[in-house]
């Protein structure tokens, strides 16, 4: 790898399917050792971008690069450096786990002791060593995902592209998968991962990108994205005494939205900085309300996602 060069780079990528713009000027890059989360609703263009990176499709315009090699002009060199885990699991009949990995190790050009070592280490890493003789079509969803991850990393690629790796997994398997991805990143691999489970991505990714209708709306760390959005917090408030006067008072305040009374408590969105929240609390007390609880929570990735995207489909 050339120093300072991103391991993954999408440069003004367009992909049209007739009238549908699956990718519409998508650009981002992923550095070595970085986990980049790709978020978007169904049909947003995540899989299309990933398939182009994996040299399974060609862009209509623009180009994508893996370790400096164009996916259009040097797909062979890209494939040697990239492991791709699609959102489906391709199985073969009458093949067990060991044979499955052995086949892909051979297909990636590994021979002799190198191949055997790669298979045994991959099986150990993915926790499949006890299932070596089990037919691939008889595996559980979680085990299949592990095998699929193992297949994509059997040739020790510098870049991993994982499309919905946690889909359908139970909580334990999801946590284990997250740990595996973090370990792979610690090894210096650049990882592009898409998921619908945003809390997972927030914990595992160094940076995220939100895509909708083929356009990349925002990229950066979760904090950066939160800061880019209109400052907003979810506020939980409880006072002694009746809620009604307080509700009326709050509704007159600028920056207070979506006020909901829940029993003895109230919940609302507050548009403003942390200082504005401090001022609001002070004014509440000054207005004579007996504040028992005042808790503000900043936006989660899920909130940001909902704020950034419009839920539109093509």
């Amino acid at each position: 790898m050339t120093n300072g060069q991103p391991m993954i780079e999408l440069r003004r990528l367009y992909r049209f399917f007739g009238e549908t713009k699956a990718n519409n000027d998508v650009s981002f890059s992923v550095a070595r050792g970085e986990v980049f989360g790709f978020i978007g609703p169904n049909g947003a263009g995540k899989t299309t971008s990933m398939r182009i990176l994996a040299t399974l499709d060609l862009p209509t315009y623009g180009d994508a690069f893996v370790d400096g090699f164009s996916v259009i002009n040097d797909p062979d060199r890209v494939r040697r450096r990239l492991g791709f885990m699609p959102d489906y699991f391709g199985t073969y009949a009458n093949v067990n786990c060991a044979e499955y990995l052995d086949f892909f190790a051979r297909a990636y050009g590994l021979t002799g002791a190198d191949r055997r070592d790669a298979i045994s280490k991959t099986m150990r890493f993915t926790g499949l060593d006890s299932l070596a003789e089990k037919p691939t079509r008889g595996l559980s969803k979680g085990m299949r995902q592990r095998l699929c991850l193992g297949r994509s990393m059997i040739h020790d690629p510098a870049v991993l592209v994982l499309d919905e790796p946690a889909a359908g997994l139970d909580p334990r398997a999801r946590i284990e998968l997250r740990e595996m991805i973090r370990q792979l990143a610690a090894q210096g691999k650049a990882i592009l991962v898409s998921s619908h489970i945003l809390t997972e991505l927030a914990e595992m990714c160094d940076r995220v990108g939100i895509i909708e209708q083929g356009q990349l709306l925002v990229t950066g760390t979760v904090e950066e994205i939160q800061n880019q959005q209109t400052p907003r917090s979810e506020v939980h408030l409880r006072i002694l005494g009746p809620n009604e006067p307080c509700r009326v008072w709050l509704e007159r305040r600028a920056g207070v939205q979506n006020l909901v009374v829940e029993g003895s408590a109230m919940r609302f969105s507050h548009m403003g900085s942390e200082q504005a929240q401090v001022d609001l609390l002070r004014e509440l007390v000054a207005a004579g309300f007996s504040v028992v609880e005042f808790g503000a929570r900043s936006l989660s990735l899920e909130d940001v996602f909902m704020q950034v995207t419009r839920g539109a489909v093509q």
Partner: protein
């Protein structure tokens, strides 16, 4: 549940299995075999594992054995009591051949088709295509697996085949020819199956293709069985050298057809930006040269003008089929393909027609058909001067050859222009669109003028007229019947002469219009290899350091 704190492939240090293996004859043999298998196509290894465990193989193999044993008992019973003194080998071989024919000519080719088609259906094809395996390796791996199954079936029946020879009545060469040809026929059908698997992606089209393929395989198996039974029934002229020469000729064409099938299938499943044409065109060129060589040989040996007509016409059909497929290629040449374009003037002039593209494909097909016509005319000139024995050459054949090329240039050219127009309007259709367009044009070109004249003449058998100029079938037939060049004293009438000139002029116009449209493909120039690729290439294949020769025995450096 296992933990996730395992080591990565790049991290852990472990003794390899080969280091741990104990020395010994069996261990050494095992290690040698394993090293040998490392060089075998991975698809073949995987498919062999799968096939040997599959229910289809077990059922077919068991049925094959059961039928072979059944025939052994039934055949001997039918031959009784003459089996002790008369020769029944031929009779028994026919039965064993029939037992082999079904798996070899239907089951294995259809399995090859399903094998590749199911890779696409199950999504495993995507996983395969991003490995180091080339599309050609994928196809040859599937082919290798089919051949392996054929060999297993042959080995299962080898005792029975040996038994037929012991019964006498058939020579070993005939037995080998029957088995060898059937093996080659099975390989060809497997290639057809693989090619068919690459045609359609949508499920409904795949179903249609599989039905058509199955019917085609059954039909071919019937024809082949008929041919083999006829061959076994007659006494093959094994002492006749011309028999062996014709066998050799067929094998030559067969090998190139298999090559075309494999490259065609690989091209269909290959990455869009790779060069999928040049190798195919080189193979077509090889086919063409073989055709010309064997055509010349057939003419010199037989001096049969009918044979020369047939071979020239067949050559023309070959080029119109290949041309109709080539004009459906994409005109876009990826930068990676342009890295290898010729740079010299001579190289560009000669090799440009091997580059991918519909325009270059059109010119390539027309030029090759034209060389076929030139060879026919040259053969005629040499025959006129009696350079070798035989009757004088009929110049009608030369006229037919020129006219054939003109028709090919005109129909292919018009089909290409129609395809260009349709693509400009947004109709895609891949390589099928120009192929179907060409076929339609050829059919309409032959039938429409005929029916128009038939209608004008009041539904009476019409004589040849200028209206039939687009009718390639009738015009070529008239030229063949007239038997001389236009303008000569005997032979072609005015209508035919006018038609000949009209078609040639029209073909020339269409050819030049197409040449203008091919300009963009021709003007492509070589692009530089990016620095990153050069850098990687240097890492993968570092230049060898050549040590300076030692100049003195004391120099240890």
């Amino acid at each position: 549940m296992t933990t996730v704190d395992g080591q990565l492939p790049s991290q852990a240090q472990e003794p390899s299995a080969s280091e741990a293996s104990a020395p010994g004859l069996l261990a050494r043999l095992d290690s040698w075999l394993e090293r040998a298998v490392d060089h075998v196509n991975p698809i073949l290894v995987k498919e062999a594992r799968q096939a040997l465990k599959s229910r289809q193989f077990v059922v077919t193999y068991s049925l094959l054995l059961a039928f072979a044993w059944g025939w052994s008992l039934l055949g001997i019973a039918l031959l009784m009591p003459g089996v002790y003194y008369s020769s029944g080998g031929r009779f028994m071989l026919v039965g064993y051949f029939l037992v082999l024919a079904i798996p070899l000519l239907i089951v294995i080719p259809f399995s090859a088709f399903r094998s590749l088609a199911s890779e696409r259906e199950d999504g495993t094809f995507d996983l395969l295509s991003i490995t180091d395996l080339s599309s050609r390796q994928i196809v040859t791996g599937k082919m290798g697996s089919a051949v392996l199954q054929m060999l297993v079936y042959y080995s299962a029946l080898s005792p029975c085949i040996g038994f037929t020879y012991l019964l006498r009545g058939i020579d070993i060469i005939t037995v080998f020819l029957v088995l060898g040809w059937t093996l080659l026929a099975s390989v060809m059908m497997a290639t057809v199956g693989l090619l068919a698997a690459t045609i359609a992606r949508a499920k409904h089209w795949q179903v249609l293709v599989s039905v058509v393929l199955l019917l085609g395989l059954a039909f071919f198996a019937f024809i082949w069985t008929y041919f083999i039974l006829a061959f076994v029934a007659m006494t093959p002229p094994l002492d006749d050298i011309s028999f062996w020469i014709s066998v050799f000729a067929v094998i030559c064409f067969y090998a190139v057809f298999i090559g075309l099938g494999v490259f065609g299938a690989a091209g269909q499943i290959g990455f869009t930006s790779s060069n999928r044409s040049t190798r195919m065109r080189l193979l077509m060129l090889l086919h063409h040269f073989l055709w010309i060589g064997w055509m010349t040989y057939a003419w010199v040996v037989t001096m049969q003008e009918g044979a020369l007509w047939f071979l020239t016409f067949a050559g023309g059909i070959y080029w119109i089929v290949m041309g109709a497929l080539m004009i459906g290629e994409s005109g876009w040449i990826a930068p990676r393909v342009r890295r290898g374009l010729p740079v010299s003037y001579l190289g560009r002039m000669v090799l440009t027609w091997l580059n991918p593209g519909p325009g270059t494909g059109y010119v390539f097909a027309v030029l090759n058909a034209a060389t076929l016509a030139v060879v026919v005319i040259l053969l005629g000139i040499v025959a006129q001067y009696n350079a070798f024995r035989g009757a004088p050459f009929d110049s009608g054949l030369a006229a037919g050859a020129i006219l054939g090329v003109a028709y090919l240039a005109a129909y292919l050219g018009v089909a290409r222009l129609i395809t260009l127009a349709m693509r400009a309007l947004g109709v895609q259709g891949g390589m099928i669109l120009p192929f179907v367009t060409t076929c339609l044009l050829l059919v309409l070109g032959a039938l429409l003028p005929y029916f128009v004249q038939f209608w004008l003449e009041g539904f009476h058998e019409p004589p040849y007229s200028l209206l039939q100029a687009p009718n390639w079938a009738w015009t070529l037939n008239e030229v063949a019947d007239a038997g001389s060049l236009p303008g000569s004293t005997s032979g072609l009438g005015f209508s035919l002469q006018s038609g000949f000139v009209l078609v040639c002029v029209f073909a020339l116009v269409i050819f030049f219009v197409n040449l203008v449209f091919a300009y963009r493909e021709v003007e492509q120039v070589r692009v530089d290899v990016p620095d990153r690729v050069l850098e990687d290439e240097q890492q993968l294949h570092p230049p060898k350091v050549i040590e300076a020769p030692r100049t003195s025995p004391w120099d240890e450096g």
